[in-house]
Amino acid sequence: MNCETCQLKELVVEPLEIRDVLRCILHTIVFHRALGLVRPKDVDCELFEITYVQCGDAELERKIDEKIDLFIGWVEKHPNKKSQVCLSFYEVRNKQATWMFSNKTERLYWEQWYINLHVINTKTHGKSHNSKAPINPGDNALEESSSRRASLESALHEVLFQIIKFVNEKKDHIPSVTNSEVISFPYEITTPR
């Protein structure tokens, strides 16, 4: 079974936008892989005019928030860097013991999503570009922030379209569902260390 990989378009985000962006993307992906009975839950982004869908699993929500917290913690220690958050789906296979004392299980990844983020801090990032002192620093900063936010929203829209397109085009690699859980497949969210 081959592992399908999807590299999502890079998003330039500020630290405060990380949570909203990651929640939106991760939940959208998982919603397409939660093949148990789902009562979809519409959630509005806090910072963007985007509504995404959650599958309503509280445990999933908790895990995603946990990972986002980890990532934010890492970003604070490594500012202004490009990074990836990876969402993987796998199967668990029992490796046949070659000798008596070995009984390992292995994970067979069949799908991996790479969320590419470039986290910038506009305060430090913006100052380095301005050589002249602006006449109205407050207005300029606000305008810049608004336009940056608008372009991020548009880019996030595109990422969601990208997810939908990928999910539609690649279906044959999805393994059989063997349980009645909402989240049909084990998954893993990996953040940089």
Binding site: F31, L35, G36, R39, D42, E49, R149, V177, S180
Partner: protein, 575 residues
């Protein structure tokens, strides 16, 4: 069921699901919604593992064969008096196009319908997400959330055939097609033509309410819920915003023209929106409701080996959530209308008027009686041992206050006999527990007995009496021996009075009483004692009288003795 029948059923249900998903996120107003049939709703929800809730409205979906396309036009209809043409903003097309399936083992009917079902599930997931990414969804949210009138409305047409767009019209639309799903009868193709922007339509709401801060939030005990809001937008002719609940318009505005927190739709955080879009209230569609965790009791919901067509649940799946916020809205609304309860103030000292929370009948408020009842009121106002103690200390029923003691005695008597009136007393007293508790409760219960027994009142002494000795407990049963008087000399003054009172209670009438003196009195003494009136006496008087009687007795005896001597002497002297 044959595989072809299963495939056909999958396709039919697929079309229905597409229709359900599209209309549920495009048509805001529910007109003539059929009452939900829970069983049918559950069965419908299980298809494709996507529970979409009740059908948004009563629509007659065109009966068509699996090969007939389903075309759903979403139309932006201008409201009168605007004289503008309606415009199609989206056209959804779902159809099963015949195809020449390549010959392979994967395309065998038994295998194909399972794969069809699996891929249909994925397609519908994508469709559901995609519906929320298009511009018409924002219009839908705006129209659904607000009670304001807008210059446009969203409607739909479900057809099997529609005139294709002209070339000019097509230029205004963008096309998105989902990846086809292979079926036994052909490929299931879902596509949408949509307008990428709706800014040309100049959508606006009439009498738009600006965001406002409710400074005196309804529900606060410090505010009057019925007070009119001072600078109310109503003065400007605007109407309040309420949550529309499944077509039930909350046009029943509160009696006070005041926007309450539950009537205003909170503005969603959309800083870049061209028009304000209030947050969507929950509806029965599963939108924005903290969704229940779906039941996951399906057996092998998706295994190719165990695929089942009919909803494979052994127990009913959760029904679409009712407008819980609606009911809570109603409840919160009602709560705001009830008068706040007065909090009973704790009693201190001689507080005359109080309302005890223990009282089952709150109308029985103690009032200061001008008569002996006043003592009862003061004493019965204590509803806790601590308070009774403090009361006792502050008031200090002195030993000499025999009048109150006497009344307390009568209260005791009535308490003892009160089992006929209220079993609570007997149960409390016979429990062997602290009469502190008995009296702390009985203070309120005695109030209940106001109508039953006039001479009742509670006395705080019993609290202390019980604490000091068990004998005093037993004294309630009237078995206390006279020796306890000597024992009480070491106790508090009040305890001593209590003991005396109990003695009086248990003592036989003076007429027949021989207990005060081991030296039995003569018949004359008895007669003298018997003539006295007991109830009008106080203890000290009684004791004094006893002493006087004793003296008199001795005097009489001594006199009789001397008289006899004299008479004998006199007799002896006369020849």
């Amino acid at each position: 069921m044959a595989e072809s029948g299963k495939s056909e059923q999958i396709i039919t249900q697929f079309f229905l699901k597409v229709l359900h998903a599209v209309l549920g996120s495009r048509i805001p107003h529910r007109h003539g919604a059929a009452p939900p049939d829970p069983a049918r709703a559950r069965k419908r929800d299980r298809w494709f593992n996507l529970a979409l809730g009740d059908l948004p409205l009563a629509f007659d979906h065109p009966h068509h064969s699996v090969m007939d396309p389903l075309i759903i036009d979403i139309i932006l209809t201008p409201r009168p008096p605007a004289d503008l043409p309606e415009a199609i903003v989206e056209r959804w097309t779902a159809q099963c196009e015949s195809w020449n399936a390549p010959h392979s083992p994967d395309n065998s009917p038994s295998f194909l319908y399972r794969r069809t079902y699996k891929k249909s599930i994925l397609l519908l997931r994508s469709l559901y997400c995609f519906l929320r990414l298009l511009p018409a969804y924002r219009v839908f949210r705006m129209l659904r959330s607000s009670n304001q009138s807008h210059n446009y409305d969203l409607s739909y047409r479900a057809l099997s055939f529609a005139e294709p767009f002209s070339r000019e019209e097509e230029r205004e639309f963008k096309l998105h097609s989902f990846t086809p799903v292979e079926t036994q009868f052909g490929q299931l193709i879902v596509s949408v033509q949509y307008r990428p922007s709706l800014s040309d339509f100049n959508l606006e709401a009439s009498s738009l309410l600006p965001p406002m801060i409710i400074t005196d939030y309804v529900g606060s005990p410090a505010t009057d819920p019925m007070r009119a809001f001072p600078s109310s937008p109503y003065e400007r002719g605007a109407r309040p915003i309420s949550f529309p609940l499944r077509g039930v318009r909350t046009s029943a505005t509160p009696s006070a023209p005041r926007p309450h927190s539950w009537t205003s739709a909170p503005l969603v955080h959309h800083p870049l929106s061209s028009f304000p879009i209030p947050a969507s209230p929950p509806d029965g569609y599963g939108n924005r409701i903290p969704s229940q965790r779906p039941t996951t009791h399906r057996k092998g919901s998706f295994s190719f080996d165990e695929f089942k067509f009919s909803p494979p649940f052994s127990s009913p799946s959760p029904t679409p959530s009712p407008p819980a916020q609606g009911s809570s809205y109603l409840h919160s609304h009602l709560r705001s209308e009830t008068a706040p309860l007065s909090i009973p103030q704790p009693l201190t000292g001689k507080s005359r008027v109080h309302s005890s929370p223990i009282l089952s009948d709150p109308t029985k408020i103690f009032l200061p009686p001008p008569s002996p009842r006043s003592m009862r009121t003061d004493l019965s106002s204590q509803n806790s041992p601590l308070e009774s103690r403090s009361f006792r200390k502050s008031e200090g029923l002195r030993a000499g206050d025999i009048y109150s003691n006497l009344q307390w005695y009568t209260a005791q008597k009535s308490l003892k006999d009160g089992r006929d009136d209220s079993g609570r007393f007997s149960s409390v007293l016979s429990s062997g527990g602290s009469p502190r508790l008995a009296f702390s409760r009985s203070s309120s219960r005695l109030s209940m007995q106001d109508d039953i027994d006039d001479g009742d009142f509670s006395c705080p002494f019993a609290v202390d009496d019980v604490d000091t000795s068990d004998s005093q407990n037993r004294s309630l049963d009237g078995k206390e021996p006279p020796e306890s008087i000597q024992a009480s000399s070491h106790k508090s003054q009040d305890a001593a009075v209590g003991i005396l009172i109990q003695m009086l209670k248990t003592a036989a009438p003076l007429r027949q009483d021989h207990s005060y003196s081991s030296q039995s009195s003569t018949s004359e003494l008895n007669g003298v004692i018997g003539t006295s009136s007991f109830f009008s006496r106080r203890t000290s008087d009684a004791l004094e009288e006893l002493r006087s009687y004793k003296e008199m007795k001795e005097i009489l005896l001594s006199r009789s003795g001397t008289n006899k001597k004299k008479s004998s002497i006199l007799w002896h002297q006369d020849p």
